[in-house]
Symmetry: C2
Subunit: 567 residues, 2 copies
């Protein structure tokens, strides 16, 4: 039974992803598949597990005294301070799997004390100054779409919500092909503004080029401080390739970096701020690259390969071909391909039988999807060259339909999670990056751990590619252990993280570290680097008010390689 | 009279650029031009000014006691320690204009105490440890091609010369399209190794993609720690785009960064090390991107525009066209174009008269040169698209001859300097970067200052372009004031730097900061950033042994906006 009705004040309203009125229940074929393969029962389907339908109630009162609250209200205006149970809970979680479980259990002990909506940079500076003097924790808050325990308030304090006021496009500079925006603007608002910015130089408007799966409910500031990527980043670049200039408020003052195209003026401090995950300060303004918006120029193509080896090798050869790279570029391993074919109703059709006969066998065959944006002639050239390489690797062309479908539904998948969890099905993701010479090790290492768990699905894809390597993204689906939701999950997740590290994958490609991966972080970056990061933290935030309690392991007090306790 | 004969032990042998046996005297037309426009006399030509022909003699004895020297020799081997006058002087200068003047005056007071040639990373670690304990300055030394007073030993100490032993290619990984090298390898050795690395995947070998004008006499380590660029960087990327992984020895331990293609794991410390200019530690190993070497695939094209405005706008539109960008991409302003045409003997020929008639008038017309590497079809597409844009801006196509000439002579220009200085002609360069909407301001600001000096030439080009801006590179030529070589020059140079800053240009695009631009650096980066950089320095190098005395203004004690005293 799908949960569609729930109160706006319920835990459910917080744990549900995205648009409150949009639902993406699993297709019938997927439900049947889960019944067969994961042991999902009719009862699991008819009676939602931990649906979180009660009204939100905070576990404790705000920890700030009246005088402090008054001082904050005086600074930013009474209407911009909220200490309601609902907002305090909502601002204390992201979309980390663990967050969702806690919301379903209706039990959250790590809470911010109050929510503050700064009106402008000046408010941010005042709040940081005040909190620094009074040693109150500050957690910058954007779209709340993070999946790395980034927002978890280990020491209470203030959630600094930038989305209410600091959500404007400050200016578009089409001579420089850049836009300057405030951090609290959501993806669609930013993109819509650019799309509508129609001029003789670009009669069809502009595009931001950054489209994470969380696009609809993530903010530009969040993209930057997590060092994120979008689904078109192979072409447009990851967020660190787009940031030209910025303004960043720290407890020790403003860092302002101008939008020079490039410079040879010592260390590039942009790269300290990008990925700082709220632990060094608050982004107050950012200047980003933009591009012409010309969706009709898209060139889309896809291929089916006989096996994963050829798929990976072909992706690599395209990335290394020096003829240009697609903007969107994805490959799916055999299990992900198999499930996609099954869900789309292709498996066992006459077409499927022809494919099987020609050697594209279910369980071995793998999909590659690609699309170029920008100049159409460039796109056509890339398609032609890619096709030749795909053919060399035994692939068959599948045309553009699958890519069109991907564009259409690219933000829909996260909506599936609440339905699956209602059915006692755990679904989560981990992601990493690695060099091409190591991709098979990392892939099989991750997969092995997921498949070692009974009744599990492991779907792995690479959705971002580079000359020297790619990311790997695993979607793992398995059964929830009722009554043991948290520990069972953490144990499973830790084993996958261990496998990634052991096989030489990076700790994250675009999700970020947060408090989730902090226990692995220190060994990952090494002693001298960790000490340097802590010195940077100490310099900018000497009282450790910025997102304290484990972020980036800057003040890590847990056990290495073991998840931080969940409260 | 050209100075061709000089002793290997002379000051001249140090101040002469590059290959001791190669000379590039000014062409006759240029000499005539300088006679007419700069007032160069026959006597200036016949009697070289301050030729530096005497035998090098150090101003003072090495400042390290016997015990210290013995300890160093015990660490690295006696044969790897040199305290000769000649090597101490040679290791105390780069190719900064001021360095050359000091060498010509045969008077250098800032000297290192000894030169050490570490055999491997282990030697570097031992030396840093020893020097840290004993508070002895250490200046990493590569190709000595820097032009920003980067090597000037303000506090004596050890010159750590990486070119004798730490000059190997450690490995080529063609699956990842990367190479791992030691920092002391010179450009040509690295490139030759890659060119000869012929395999089925690239039967014509590989290329490093990084070709600064100093290529022949600069090292990979120098490229990285100065945050340099090469003449093909518009296509291959600046050095910070090429560095994948590295090993970096600091007084506080090793920083090791793996060659993941990308990661979202907090601040990216590569960007602290790139551009650290010897002030934070010593690069001991670096993994860089490589590409297939396919010179026969080059697509070359050039255009002549009627004015600078159209040239700049067309360059911008090509960079923003999203059809791909050339690897080499240069535009010359009217004065540079005029002098190029004059030197090449085109001015006043019948062809020139036709050009003039068609509106391409000397003193207004401007050159654009471009070349693509890599895939030839991509190159052809870019050429076609660029041609259409150039035509729109009133340009005429000049074919590929000028570009071929550029490729052939691209490393020759620096050889001209010693001949001009012999004739009492000062020639030097400054460079900056800026956004497209500001490029005309920066260009005219720089030019105005140069042209305000009597008898001066100002040749400005943009040789690196980006979506949002470009660099500007000014070659200024004027008369030396005999007897006032240093102060007269510094006053002139300071005025140009001031103009760059005032008009919103970056302090450097690829030369780096060194001690030369340090007096402008603090105001340039801002207070909070400067404090952060100093905290980073304090963390990695608490005793300030790494290239001390002003580098990146980390321990700056001079007067802001005024050059550091020249000793």
């Amino acid at each position: 039974m799908q949960v569609k009705n729930f109160s706006r004040q319920s835990w459910r309203s917080i744990l549900k992803w995205g648009d409150p009125n949009y639902f993406n229940p699993p297709k019938k074929r997927l439900v049947e598949y889960m019944k067969e393969n994961l042991g999902v029962t009719d009862e699991d389907i008819s009676s939602p597990h931990l649906p979180g339908l009660d009204k939100v109630k905070a576990d404790k009162k705000p920890g700030l005294d009246e005088k402090t609250l008054k001082a904050i209200k005086d600074m930013v205006g009474e209407e911009n301070v909220d200490i309601s149970d609902y907002e305090r809970v909502r601002h204390s979680v992201g979309y980390t799997y663990i967050d969702i479980v806690k919301l379903r259990l209706e039990d959250i002990k790590s809470l911010v004390d109050c929510v503050v909506y700064p009106r402008d940079e000046n408010d941010v500076v005042k709040i940081l100054d005040f909190c620094n003097k009074n040693k109150i924790a500050v957690i910058p808050f954007g779209g709340r779409s993070g999946v790395s325990r980034g927002l978890e308030p280990m020491k209470g304090g203030i959630s600094l919500d930038l989305t209410r006021h600091m959500n404007k496009v400050i200016g578009v500079n089409e001579v420089n092909m850049s836009a300057t925006v405030q951090p609290g603007i959501f993806g669609p608002d930013y993109e819509e503004y650019l799309n509508n910015y129609k001029t003789p130089y670009s009669p069809t408007g502009y595009t931001c080029g950054h489209f994470p799966q969380s696009f609809e409910y993530s903010t530009v500031g969040g993209w930057v401080v997590t060092r994120g990527a979008g689904s078109l980043s192979t072409g447009y670049g990851k967020i660190e390739d787009m940031v030209l200039g910025l303004r960043f408020a720290t407890p020790k003052g403003m860092i302002v970096i101008k939008d020079y195209p490039r410079a040879a003026t010592g260390p590039d401090l942009r790269h300290i701020i990008i990925g700082s995950e709220g632990a060094l300060g608050v982004l107050t303004e950012v200047t980003l690259k933009i591009w012409r918006f010309r969706p009709s120029n898209r060139v889309m193509f896809s291929f089916l390969f006989k096996d994963w080896d050829n798929t990976v090798t072909c992706m690599r050869e395209i990335m290394q071909g020096e003829f240009g790279v697609p903007h969107m570029f994805r490959i799916s391993d055999a299990e992900e391909t198999s499930i996609a074919f099954m869900v789309e109703g292709i498996t066992n059709t006459p077409i499927d039988k022809i494919l099987e006969k020609r050697g594209y066998v279910d369980g071995k065959r793998c999909l590659m999807l690609a699309a170029t944006e920008g100049d159409r002639d460039r796109g056509k050239l890339i398609k032609k060259k890619a096709k030749a390489l795909a053919k060399k690797h035994g692939a068959i062309s599948l045309g553009s339909i699958a890519v069109k479908g991907w564009y259409k539904h690219r933000y829909a998948d996260p909506y599936l999670r609440e339905d699956l969890m209602d059915m006692k099905v755990m679904t989560d993701t981990l992601e990493t990056s690695c060099t091409w010479d190591n991709i098979m090790n990392v892939w099989s290492g991750m997969r092995e751990v997921v498949k070692a768990r009974p009744n599990s699905i492991s779907m792995i894809h690479a959705s971002h590619a580079y000359e020297n390597g790619a990311n790997l993204y695993v979607i793992f689906i398995s059964r929830i252990k009722p009554g043991d939701e948290v520990d069972d999950y953490l144990e499973f997740q830790s084993a996958i993280i261990d496998a990634i590290i052991k096989n030489g994958g990076s700790l994250s490609h675009h999700h970020g570290v947060g408090k989730m991966l902090a226990p692995w972080y220190e060994d990952y970056v090494g002693k001298t680097s960790m000490e340097l990061l802590r010195a940077i933290k100490e310099q900018l935030d000497p009282n450790n008010i910025m997102n304290p309690g484990g972020t980036l392991a800057l003040d890590f007090k847990g056990k290495k390689g073991k998840p931080l306790p969940v409260k």
